[in-house]
Amino acid sequence: MSKRVLLGILLACGLTAPALAQEPKTGGVINAVIQPEPPGLMLAMVQNGPVQMVAGNIFEGLLRYSPKLEPQPELAESWSVSDDAKTYTFKLRKGVTWHDGKPFTAADVLFSIEMLKQTHARARNNLVQVDKIEAPDDYTVVFTLKQPFGPFLGIFEVGSMPMVPKHLYEGTDFKTNPYNNAPIGTGPFMFKEWQKGSFIRLVKNPNYYEKGKPYLDEIYWQVIPDAAARSVAYETGKVDVLPGGSVENFDVPRLSKLKDTCVTGAGWEFFSPLAWLWLNNRQGPLADKRVRQAVMYAIDRDFAKDVIWNGLGKVATGPSASAIKYYTDDVPKYPYDPAKAKALLKEAGYKGEKIRLLPLAYGETWQRWGEAVKQNLQDVGMNIETIATDVAGGNQKIGDWDYDIAFTYLYQYGDPALGVGRNYVSSAIAKGQVFNNVEGYSNPEIDKLFADGAVATPDSKRKEIYEKAQKILVEDVPVAWMLELQFPTITRCKVKNLITTGIGVNDGFKDAWLDK
């Protein structure tokens, strides 16, 4: 059969019976874009987006998460929770080896957690409720909590808690350990080489514990610094995978229309990036709740979604993204209504005081968004002055509370106790940081709700608490929620099964295969 006929048949199959599961094929090399070039690959030490994306295939966590954020086995093959919700017992998978051949055991888990407490700020924070961790045998790990902590099963993803080889790191200076440059994990792919400024090469782990996986032989992560050049690299066939955020949004529709190209917004459920405007609640016109509500009414968020983000994403309804647990849309609504915004401003006695707007210096999309929001706010009579700044300068201004309105987007990590509360409780007001309660909102009721919600049992109780918190927050508008962002992943359609979990490309190459 000629190649063309075969291709025709394959295409016909693909078109007529997309639901038909195909048998994965083994072999093949994939070129993917990594943007920007990661500062390192030792996931326990650095956790920037691109680090997670590459190193998520080298390292593994105890659990993975489905797109619905349900825990799934990874290095732990099963787990159980005691009736008082304070003891979590994990059974580890047997026969797992590190890339250097040494077996993976419970001792590695205990060591990893000790190490992460020193090197990984978010992991340290996630483990605050843990009283002690024990390993009764080589394949069992028991976590005992100080008090029940609802989101506990949500902290074991590879980026939040990567497993590190004890035999290579114990007793060494973590920062200067030579294995930071050639990381050893348990994952489906092994680090092979890194030509700085050019590519990172991972090769198949032949001894991977899941028989038959991974299907691919090699992954090349190509480093291409210019956004336009990344699109061209895809068009010319140099790369087959453009992970979310690696091309500018306005290129997405054009690339999507190319032959044999598949686009998906899935694979970001665990992070659920939510974009909002910090509103400085401390001073100036925005200290007035009515002015903050006016901001919500004044901004055409559908326009932002359709035009600036090319229809990707979702208009946010409140502090939680819709994939986050206990999300509710039963909250006060703020449709685009300039007349109402004007009325609220008038009622609040706003007299045209100057309001400074800090856009996010993350490229064209964010710049355009800043301009559109400025125009929306000016249309209802607000006197907006845009402050031009770079990323570092913007972070400094936001951390010093030296702004009136500022763009941002943050990850939410699946549970309101892990990724939402930190932006609204008054204990998280700390000058100099940019991911906490930057707006200076302080409401004892909200503080109590988030404190109770983290440790309440059972689930229905947590749900009730967090739904109440969402209603209060949306009424008060401490920040102006904009969009649930979606970073589309663009691939050739022959790349199959790349995105199967809630963290998408970050651990997706384990299951991915190439249809030749």
Partner: protein, 279 residues
């Protein structure tokens, strides 16, 4: 003066340049009156090609903003930056050059070393650094363009003053006991002015280009639309929407060309040797 206009109008390039400049100034002054809406306003669907709707003749940009309105308002910013920064550069450069040339000796040495200090740094790089440090705003842009463009003025004026310094009428003025300031202002500078005027017209053109380049790199005033900003913002979508970059680009080209033609015309008109040839 009449003589000047006569010779200016005799040079075709000068005439064309003048027409372009007058038109550009007219657009900058009166254009915004015809477009009461802000050029930042999103008026139509994004990426509307030009010549499809009469309300947005040159199409819309990535946010649905009117490209034509942007060009009209951009003219104001570009010309203003060009003229004001040149004026500032003259205010700094002329006295420095005049003093260096007139007093000579150590004053000359000191002032010229100072000038050279600025000349050794590539001007565009210096402008970028200054704007980045001062944060982009119309003031910092004008200031940084002025800072990088005054040294040539100083050197030119110094050269002229050096040669005029030895003329008999200047020496006569010195002998009659007039003050140095008076001599520089009344006797020397008026006679050194014609090459400075020619240079200034070219400097305006350079300043417009500099401002456009800064805005292109994202270092424009974020609150003001300018041609360079439009080109820079449209650059990344040039494959989908050529018109966003092409029209403001053409506007920059024409106005810079116009200023250069004026410079040439002025040179013809003010150069005694050239202008007398025609008689």
């Amino acid at each position: 003066m009449k003589q000047f206009w006569k010779s200016m109008l005799r040079s075709p390039s000068g005439v064309i340049g003048l027409i372009i400049l007058v038109l550009a100034i007219a657009v900058a002054v009166f254009g915004p009156l015809l477009f009461p809406n802000s050029p930042w306003r999103m008026v139509q669907r994004p990426f509307l090609p030009p010549f499809t709707l009469s309300t947005v003749p040159l199409g819309t940009d990535a946010l649905g903003r009117d490209v034509f309105a942007g060009m009209i308002f951009g003219a104001r910013v570009s010309l203003l930056v060009g003229l004001v920064s040149t004026l500032v550069a003259l205010i700094v450069g002329v006295p420095v050059g005049a003093m260096a040339g007139y007093f000579g000796g150590k004053v000359d040495d000191a002032l010229m070393r100072f000038t050279e200090f600025f000349q050794t740094i590539p001007s565009f790089a210096l402008a970028i650094v200054l704007v980045a440090i001062l944060q982009p705003s119309i003031y910092s842009i004008v200031a940084s363009i002025a800072v990088v463009s005054w040294p040539p003025v100083a050197r030119l004026v110094r050269g002229e003053v050096l040669s005029l310094r030895t003329r008999e009428y200047v020496q006569a003025a010195v002998v009659t006991g007039q003050s140095n300031t008076w001599i520089i202002l009344r006797e020397i500078l008026p006679n050194a002015l014609s090459p400075v005027i020619v240079l200034a017209s070219l400097m305006v053109a350079t300043a417009i280009l500099l401002e456009s380049s800064l805005a292109f790199l994202g270092l424009g005033d974020p609150n003001l639309i300018s041609w360079g900003y439009m080109v820079g913002a449209g650059r990344t979508v040039i494959r989908q929407a050529w018109w966003i970059t092409v029209f403001p680009g053409v506007a920059i080209l024409i106005s810079v060309l116009g200023l250069n033609l004026i410079g040439e015309g002025l040179n013809d008109a003010l150069n005694p040797r050239l202008s007398r040839e025609g008689r």
